[in-house]
Amino acid sequence: MSAPATATQAKPEVITFTEAFSRALHDAMEMDPSVIMLGEDIADEEGGGIFKVTKGLSTKFGTERVKTTPISEQAIVGAAIGASLAGMRPVAEIMLMNFITVPMDQIVNHAAKLRFMSGGQTHVPITIRTRTGAGAGTGGQHSDMLEAWFAHVAGMKVVVPSTPADAYGLLLGCIFDDDPCLFIEDQLTRTQTGPVPVKGEIIPLGKAHVAREGKDVTVVGYGRPIRDAMVLADKLAGEGISVEVVDLRTVSPMDTGTVLKSVAKTGRAVVIHEAPRSFGCGAEIAARIQEELFDQLKAPVLRVASRDVTVPFSRVLEAEYLYKASGIEAAIRRTLEKRTQK
């Protein structure tokens, strides 16, 4: 290479989501000895996790702090809860989100409620990392986005990052947050890249992020479709359509203020998520916007999401199941058609 030495020694400018998850875990363990981890196959003897996110951690921090568990999701989450009650900050991995159906009692009846039910005497600073997302051809039991369930449970925090840097900062945010957090990693975009985060920089939970400013329409959501929205916003800017993109980052508790501020400005909103449309988180976002901004809205709040069916195996059907970027674009245009009606 002909570039000067400093340049070749410079850090790569981008990292993948997987690297971001890994670094956050690594840095958290380095920052605080009470951070411990457990999950199936996560130690290096088992290859550092089926998705390699935890690779190297057990070697560096010891197999006492990074424990491979049996296939026992109830015990995994329960053990995390118990350890957290004794002052630790456990990070539990539930390999794929469909398996989170197994420890629901531990999460919902215990992790989410112990602070309240104990009158604040105890709390449960655990992070549950899980992974999911349709588009990889893994079918009905390995693709579901179930974040709406947890958003509906008081006491839980639900976080879905849309860039590697956010993934890093938000995962640290979860780990050092004093409440139980569900952190959802997207299976499909895991090798996509983005700018490198600043080491140790925590993104506090509960704040939405205006990922792009605009004035004609607000696109609000979280996770993978935010990436589509950013691309679309660029494209539509060429046509003179100015799209504001609000990335919730923390799905629940939701930063309603930031959403409302944006929609109050643009008068139009398109809500996006990957999960199936009906009874999904988008319904809540839409409901809140129309409740608060009824008189300012120039068009109905539209939702773009996946279909209300089981995730199909065949790619032709899976593609039909998934929300589409073209659907987001169509919805944006539809809200703009309404421009003159009111």
Binding site: I36, E64, R65, K67, T69, P70, S72, E73, Q74, A75, V77, G78, A79, A80, I81, G82, A83, S84, L85, A86, G87, M88, P90, D105, Q106, N109, H110, L114, R115, F116, M117, S118, G119, G120, Q121, T122, H123, A154, G155, K157, G173, F176, D177, D178, D179, I202, P204, L205, G206, P253
Partner: protein, 326 residues
């Protein structure tokens, strides 16, 4: 573990005192419930006092307890003070949980009462985690988790015992086999003669004892505590006992055949243990009566405290949902 420690009259008396406190409180509560002066879900531990006390005398305040809706005996044996406990039953702001948790969710970390759960079997995985934390911190604490016979059939039991055994955690799984889960007889729901045998599925130390026998229970508990403190792993103790007051307060208990009930009554551990204390010479009748009076006075004082305490402010509803924002 020390081989065959001697069971002294002083130990027997200590067990009696804990058990009797439980017993007097339980009687009091049932009276209050009957008369309508207390309105709360209540799962009487009547019949299970001795086993809880015989376990309790081995524990330190710093040790952890995870128990269930039927947990007042465990909580008292662990040393929870009466005022916050009673005030919680009374749904008052001065309750252990500020009236927000209630009887099924008593928490009192100062005395190690970490979790009381209303979900059958769900305490076992949590106890596993408390034990894991102690193992990591090398703090020498023991975690006791108690549950019923019915709970031994739920998946969480299996997962927790396997994990605790694998990781050699300092956890004691105390199954209080009172022969019924709600209105279902043991044999209707449980495919093994003794739950203690299920320890073999995890290569875990396991034992079935007569939970009504203070000495046998004390020995089993002592061995389990010593094993845990020595870092030698968990124990499953099945303490066979009986619950005399049915599942919940008000349960007519029609599903228990009369002869069966009477046979158990004849083995009621409370009168038997009182007689044993007297026979051991650890205390005289008068001393025991004086203790009863003392406990009764404490109970009255705590009840007065609970009754006099205010209900929580409605503003409490929004507190303790989440911690202070980061």
């Amino acid at each position: 573990m020390s081989a065959n420690p001697s069971f002294t009259p002083a130990t027997l008396l200590a067990i009696w005192r804990k058990a009797r406190q439980i017993n007097l409180i339980d009687e009091k509560f049932r009276g209050l419930l009957r008369s309508g002066r207390l309105a709360a879900v209540y799962y009487s531990p009547r019949g299970q006092e001795i086993l809880a006390a015989a376990m309790g005398v081995h524990l330190q305040p710093t040790d952890y307890l995870v128990t269930t809706y039927r947990g007042i005996h465990d909580q008292l044996a662990k040393g929870i003070p009466l005022k916050p406990l009673f005030a919680e039953y009374y749904a008052k702001a001065t309750g252990a949980c500020k009236g927000k948790g209630g009887p099924m969710h008593i928490t009192h970390p100062e005395t190690g009462v970490m979790v009381t759960t209303g979900i059958v079997g769900s305490g076992l995985p949590i106890a596993t985690g408390l034990g894991w934390a102690s193992q990591l911190k090398k703090d020498g604490r023991v975690t006791l988790v108690t549950f019923g016979d019915g709970a031994s059939n739920i998946g969480a039991f299996h997962e927790a015992l396997n994990m605790a055994a694998l990781w050699k955690l300092p956890v004691i799984f105390l199954c209080q086999n009172n022969l019924y889960g709600e209105s279902s007889k043991y044999a209707k729901t449980t495919s093994v003669d003794n739950i203690g045998e299920r320890a073999a599925s995890y290569r875990m130390a396991g034992v079935t004892v007569d939970g009504n026998d203070a000495e046998a229970m004390w020995r089993a508990a002592g061995e389990a505590v010593a094993r845990a403190r020595a870092g030698e792993g968990p124990t499953l103790i099945e303490a066979v006992t009986f619950r005399f007051m049915g599942h919940y307060f008000g349960d007519p208990g029609a599903y228990i055949p009369k002869e069966e009930y009477e046979a158990h009554l004849a083995r009621d551990p409370m009168p038997a243990t009182r007689a044993a204390v007297l026979a051991s010479g650890a205390a005289t009748e008068a001393e025991l009566d004086a203790y009863d009076a003392e406990v009764s006075a404490q109970i009255e004082e705590a009840l007065q405290f609970a009754a006099d305490s205010p209900f929580p402010d409605v503003g409490e509803i929004d507190i303790d949902v989440y911690g202070a924002a980061a």
